[in-house]
């Protein structure tokens, strides 16, 4: 196989690996590195409430569930409670049944987007960004995989 093809193949694998690595990082508890709320078994993780604090009147959220969460339909339980100390509202959601890791990622992204829509009025975009020549390297592809996965990972 010609070298450019090998590099492209390796980069493709690394892209997937980057996303996977970020996913795995969420499960690590190395001293001084990493933190996650997703260390439970899949069934418990699926049932855990995932929450964001939104600087708004809780009533506003109760009367109109933000679109990204509403899109899940009856698959979610959604809870809105006042946050202490003038921090607005705590918007929490969890699945009603077993789900996959990817679906939990979808919920994380939806919670963050809901918060941004209420607080700012829009969701911050980053692409397309100006950039120079992207060399097809495994490390570069891994970074792209991580960045692509990043909105759906984290401690939520």
């Amino acid at each position: 196989m010609p070298l450019p093809k090998i590099v492209t193949r390796a980069a493709g694998l690394a892209g997937g690996a980057g996303g996977k690595a970020l996913q795995q990082l969420q499960h690590l508890r190395l001293p001084g590195f990493g933190q996650s709320s997703v260390t439970d078994d899949p069934r418990t993780a699926a049932r855990r409430w995932r929450a964001v604090s939104v600087l708004t009147d809780p009533e506003q959220l109760r009367t109109a569930i933000p679109v990204p969460l509403a899109a899940f339909g009856d698959r979610l339980d959604v809870r809105v409670t006042p946050a202490p100390g003038d921090r607005g509202a705590e918007l929490a959601a969890r699945f009603r049944g077993p789900v996959t890791e990817d679906e939990i990622g979808d919920l994380r992204a939806a919670l963050r987007e809901s918060k941004a829509l209420v607080e700012v009025g829009e969701v911050l975009r980053v692409d397309p960004q100006p950039h120079g020549h992207r060399k097809a390297t495994p490390q570069g592809a891994a970074i792209e995989g991580m960045a692509e996965r990043a909105p759906r990972e984290g401690v939520l």
Partner: protein
């Protein structure tokens, strides 16, 4: 447009890249007049923050002219000459309302990376890796600025471009360290690092009423700048024992406020320096924290330390016993620039804060690779390489 990009470890190129466009209603587009290298860029260049993709546009400290505004922008308008804060903040979340702008909840579209590393995600930053949002940087002819009403400040007529430029990051970071460390009249303040941020932390401490300000470094041209342009005293750590000097100069107490403006690639002489270099190169620690260690040991009992230097993850031999038993207050942050910029521009307009001397090398953007090499090697007394697109 032309832009300076990161193309690999210690490699910078100038390439033709697409122009930025408005992506959000709160965006503005700025035509860059001046953009500067920053010490924290060296961590990216050196591969110590491994979230850069080849082709990423560098730069986070800049000023220029507004040339386009989004539909929801109310205060900024086309033609405004603005300085833009390096961190991206929405202005409406709880953190922004507390004026902790670099902690904005809505500024980083890639929160999964930093939450995985640090447990929570700070806001985004221009040109500072995909961990901080993947935003294109300012070493370019044009830059998209999200939340333009929040992060871009009109520069008063009497403030020059070269002075305003450093309000973007160096001055606001330095000011934050001096103020949030609790500097008050009568205090003795010690600052580790005489780069742009360290010098501005020292100047801010003086403007906040500190009785005595001491800046620690080893580079003669930077120490000379501190004496001449900042008006603070200096300690050359290559020729004297810093701890002994500080005890002697403070009646045995130690400084009331310590400000660390060095970061993860701290240079230190002797065994300590070698120890940290070896551990970092073997990936047994990510950062070299010698200035932080020294500041904790030097600080007076009950004093405070503010860590301004950028750190990535974990260090070894952190003197937690000294910190706890001496009752120190230790804080750190990326810059909450939006909080301090209006005051800084007022001080600049009155001539109380001057920064032009930091721009030791002003050059066309096309020479950015050479500028970064000079900046990294401290060649020809380079304190900051400033680029003009």
């Amino acid at each position: 447009m032309r832009a300076a990009t990161w193309t690999g470890v210690n490699e910078v190129s100038v390439e033709t890249v697409p122009d930025p466009t408005l992506l959000n209603d709160h965006d503005i587009i700025v035509k860059v007049r001046k953009t500067t290298s920053c010490g924290s860029d060296l961590h990216l260049l050196g591969g110590y923050i491994p979230f850069m993709r080849a082709g990423d546009v560098l730069g986070h400290e800049f000023m220029g002219d507004v040339v386009e505004v989004g539909r929801a922008v109310r205060e900024r308008k086309v033609g405004d000459r603005v300085v833009v804060n390096s961190f991206i903040a929405c202005g409406t979340c709880w953190y922004c309302k507390q004026e902790l702008y670099s902690l904005c909840d809505n500024g980083n579209p890639n929160p999964g990376i930093t939450e995985g590393l640090w447990g929570q995600s700070p806001g985004g930053c221009f040109g500072y890796s995909h961990a901080l949002g993947g935003f294109a940087g300012s070493h370019a002819e044009y830059i998209r600025v999200p939340y333009g009403d929040v992060g871009a400040f009109v520069v008063p007529e009497e403030v020059s471009d070269l002075r305003a430029l450093f309000a973007s990051d160096a001055v606001s970071t330095g000011w934050m360290g001096a103020e949030l460390a609790g500097t008050k009249p009568g205090d003795t303040v010690a600052v580790w690092g005489a780069g742009g941020v360290g010098q501005m932390a020292a100047r801010a401490a003086m403007l906040l009423g500190a009785e005595r300000v001491l800046v620690i470094d080893r580079l003669p041209e930077r120490l000379a700048q501190v004496r001449e342009h900042v008006g603070a005293e200096v300690i050359d750590y290559s020729t004297t024992d810093v701890m002994a000097e500080l005890r002697e100069l403070t009646g045995g107490r130690g400084p009331d406020v310590c400000i660390e403006a060095v970061g993860m690639e701290a240079h230190s002489p002797g065994v300590h320096g070698t120890y940290d270099q070896v551990k970092q190169q073997l990936r047994l620690q990510t950062d070299r924290p010698s200035a932080v260690r020294e500041a904790i040991m030097a600080c007076r009992k009950g004093g405070s330390l503010f860590v301004l230097g950028v750190f990535a993850a974990a260090v070894d031999k952190f003197p937690i016993g000294a910190m706890m038993n001496k009752g120190l207050t230790v804080r750190g942050a990326q810059v909450h620039g939006q909080r301090f910029t209006p005051r800084i521009l007022e001080h600049m307009a009155r001539g109380e804060l001057t920064t032009e001397h930091l721009a030791t090398h002003v050059m066309p953007l096309e020479q950015a690779p050479r500028g970064y090499q000079m900046f990294k090697d401290k060649e020809d007394g380079c304190v900051r390489a400033v680029f003009e697109p």
